[in-house]
Structure formats: C-alpha cells, structure tokens
Amino acid sequence: MAEEGPPPSTQTLDPIAQRKHAAMLERISNHHQSRLHASAARRSASAASPSFDSVAAFLDRFSELRRSIESDLARCRGAAPAAAADICSAPAIKPELEKVSASISDLERLLAENSYFLPSYEVRSSLKAISDLKEALEVANSELLPRKKFSFRNKAPKKESATLVKEIDERKVPDEEKSNLAVVRDTPGFRNEKGAVLVKKFRASEEDEGDFTLANLESCKVYLKGRFRALFVHRLKDCNVFAGPVLGSILIEEASNCVFMLASHQIRIHQATVADFYLRVRSRPIIEDCSGVRFAPYRLFYEGIDEELRVSGLGVETENWANVDDFKWLRAVQSPNWCLIPEDERLGSVNISEVTEQDNDN
C-alpha cells in the first residue's frame, strides 16, 4: 500500500490520514462480511448434497449409481433392434439417453464434491469409471441415434487431428530404417520354436556381457545355464524355462501356461496369464496386466550354481519372491491377480546338471 503522507510511526494522524484509515477499516470489514456470506452459502450448498462420513459409504453410493446408469444404458441398447428397424422410434430413445447423460454428470459432480477426502487411488478409479460410462453413452448415442446430425463441433475434429498427427509421426520414420535395424541386430536368443528342447550354456568369458532373448516359443523346454546380464521374454506358450542367475533385470511380456524358474536383481512380468514363477530376486517382483500368476521360491540346481549365485549377489534368499507388487492393484488388500503356490503343489528342487547343449533339438 503506497499511501502518501507521514510515515506510520507518526503519533498523531492528520485528518486526511484518519479518514483514509477509517475507509480502509470499512473496506476490510465489508470484505470479511462477504467472505462469511460466501462460505455460509457454500456450507448450505454442501449440506444439500449428500455427504459421506466414510470412504466406504461413498464408494457404495458411487457404485450403486454407476450400476443404475449402466442398466439404464443397457435398457436403451436393448431397445436398439426396434429403433434400427423403425427409425421413427429413435426420438423415443433420445430423452432416455439424455437422462443417462444427466445422471452421469450428477455422478461426476458427486465425485468432485467428495474428492477432498477420498484416497487418490479411489479418485482415479472413479474418474476412470465415469469416463467409461461416458464412452459407453457415446457408443449408444451413435448406435441408437443414427439420424442425429453429425456434430464435428465436439469430439470428432479432435480425434481426427490426433490420428492425423499420429500418422504423420509414423510416416516420418522411413521403412528402410526399421529394416536396417532388424538386419543389424539379431541379439542372442531362442526364437520361433515349437516343441523343442533349447539349451544354452554361458561361458565364463561371456557371462558378464550379454543379454538373451526368448521369443515366440511354444511347448518348449528352455535351459539357460551360467550367468548372464539380462533376459527378455516375449510371447511364450506352454513352456518351461529354467535359468541361472541374471545380473541385471528380467522383462517378461505375454506368457501363458508357463513355468519359470529365475534368479535376478529385478523382475517385471507383463500380460502373463496362468503362469508359475519360482524366483530368487533382490528387489520386489512386479506384475502388470496379469492374471492367475503364482509365486514360489527358486529351487534350481546344477553344478556350480551356488558359486554363480553368490558372485551375482544372489546367494542369499531375500524372501522377496513373495513380495509381489501388482501395478493394476494399488490397494492394501491382496491382489486377485496373483497368489503364492501352495507348498504341496510346488515343484521340488529341479536338477538340470545332466542337461547339456548337445540335448538341443532345435
């Protein structure tokens, strides 16, 4: 406040300054009053809308409303054949859909009003549920109201420009570059085999250097003996994989009906369905987009493996094989996507000393 006149330390204020002072006090008190009004109005508004004293109560109410919207939508779509056959009935559907749209907005408001006390995960998943509902409504709209004028105003142009940009982006990379890459790089690994026994022994000279890939295998038994740096697994079906210590990380994507016995510093498992993992791992294994995966401790044996585990920093059982993080289940309760293998169903220790590279039948 750049008020002219005497400095504030002056004892006696001249009349002008006094008037200004009084005016200022009045302004402040007015301001205060209006703020009180506003907050009272806010309070009464929030009292009018349902408020919840616990997260669970909110979630119950939320999912109840969500179910009712879903069933409304289903009902509208159930009437679809009639609507398609007789275009004149479309107008009858329209108010129904508008009602659904209004309830979705209500649901959104409910979430917004209560978001301050919800855990952020619940807010996110609720937001996701709402956007799913909106999408479903969009689909229903386009199916049931075919005669509605296309409105490029809203979503359509956005989508189009987005795909356009994407196409341009993709076109920017000439094909020859990609093929170049494939020619230049054929990293060590087993690929595109069916019903084979595949054995690889890493020599001491190569163990600190290389990565290894298992890709597109079906009904194979894979034995990897010795230490190596990194393992990539992609698209395995009905396979058994037994591997010695990996110094770095293991990345598994798309495995179904497989058994893995692995030791590593880090393990990431994506899109696996029905697979058993016998692990020794220094950090916490993670799963993402998996279902029916089970875990148990590493029980592999071949001559020299103890020493290999030790020098790889994997000599000690950390019990981390059971500390699985599911990125699709960020809650305190146990994820439905994975479990431990009951002791009586676990494989005993597996001895692959006898397996040699001569057994390769690929």
Partner: protein, 185 residues
C-alpha cells in the same frame, strides 16, 4: 512483480534446477539417479510412483524427479511436467524390441507444451551390455532429427551399472539449463 519473475528470482538465489527423469520401464532411471548420487544400486525395485532426490551438482541444486515407467503409470507423467527445466529420457539400448514403443512415448511427451522449453538429454543406457545399440543408432531409431529445431537436446551413451557417461550427460544438461535460466550472471 509478476509471479514468474519471483520464481526466477528464487531459483536464481538457490540455483535450483528441476529435472524430470522419464522413459519406459526397465530402462534404468532410478539406477541412474542413485548412481549419480553415490548410493547403493544393488537393490532397486521397479518404481511404483516416484522418487525425488535433491542432488548438489557443481554449484547447482538439482531437484530430480524420477517417475516410474510402467505402462499403467505413464499417464501420470503429466502431473510432473510443470516447471521442468531439464528432461532426461532414458532408453534401454539393449531392448531392441520395444524401441518403437520408446519412440512413440518420447514423441508423445515432446508434444507437451509445458515441456517445450526444457532441455532434453537422452541417455542411451546399458551400453555395458554386449549387443546394446550405440547412441547414434538409438538417435536414428528414435528419429531425433525430426524434433522441433528449437529444442536443445543431446544423446549420450551411458551405463548406470558402471557409471560411465552419466557425468558427461549431466554436465551438458546442467550447462545448457544454466545458460538459459542464469543468463544474466
């Protein structure tokens, strides 16, 4: 005094820089941060969420935001874009199969307006693994030349495992940011 100039002034005083580390999962982001900070890198779990580290680097204080790269949580990267001075994109140079994903995610990120002024350092990590692509090859596959010409960027080969290349990369990044933010000194 505008908010922006206040922020600038505060930053100048503390010589702070905000660095955002992103990249696909399994690329080595957390390992790089811990290695630079001289911490133990032998037990690192895949990042569920994010880590923040304040690292004294030369005369600057780097606030390094290391954000998890798993697919599920990539959509939350946007929450960390605000006021980013330097962007570090980490690539697993041995994961040839997912380089297409890597390119798509990077170019997606670079469309973000809030990151338009940030210097971009690309770490072609895991160079210690035999068969890893060289930085020049990574640059080609990621199509880095197609980036906006106004972007300050550099690609550096490194190994978070041995530590090689990390300082070279951060030296460049810090210098580049300093020359923009602390221009007047």
């Amino acid at each position: 005094m505008g908010l922006l100039s206040i922020i600038r002034k505060i930053k100048r005083k503390e010589k702070e820089m905000r660095i955002l580390m992103v990249g696909l999962d399994n690329s080595g982001k957390t390992t790089i941060v811990l290695k630079i900070n001289g911490e133990d890198t032998s037990v690192i779990s895949p990042t569920l969420g994010f880590n923040i580290k304040t690292i004294k680097y030369q005369k600057y204080s780097l606030n390094v935001w290391d954000v998890g790269g798993q697919k599920t949580i990539r959509s939350y990267w946007r929450n960390y874009f605000e006021q980013t001075d330097g962007l570090v994109w980490v690539v697993d140079s041995s994961d040839v199969r997912r380089l297409d994903d890597c390119r798509a995610e990077l170019h997606n990120l670079l469309k973000e307006e809030r990151l338009s002024g940030a210097s971009l350092l690309i770490f072609a990590n895991k160079q210690d693994i035999q068969g890893a692509l060289k930085p020049a090859e990574i640059a080609k596959v990621l199509n880095l030349d197609a980036m906006d010409k106004t972007r300050h960027w550099k690609i550096v080969g490194c190994s978070a495992y041995t530590g090689e290349g990390l300082l070279e990369g951060f030296d460049w990044l810090v210098q580049d940011i300093a020359s923009r933010i602390y221009l007047l000194e």
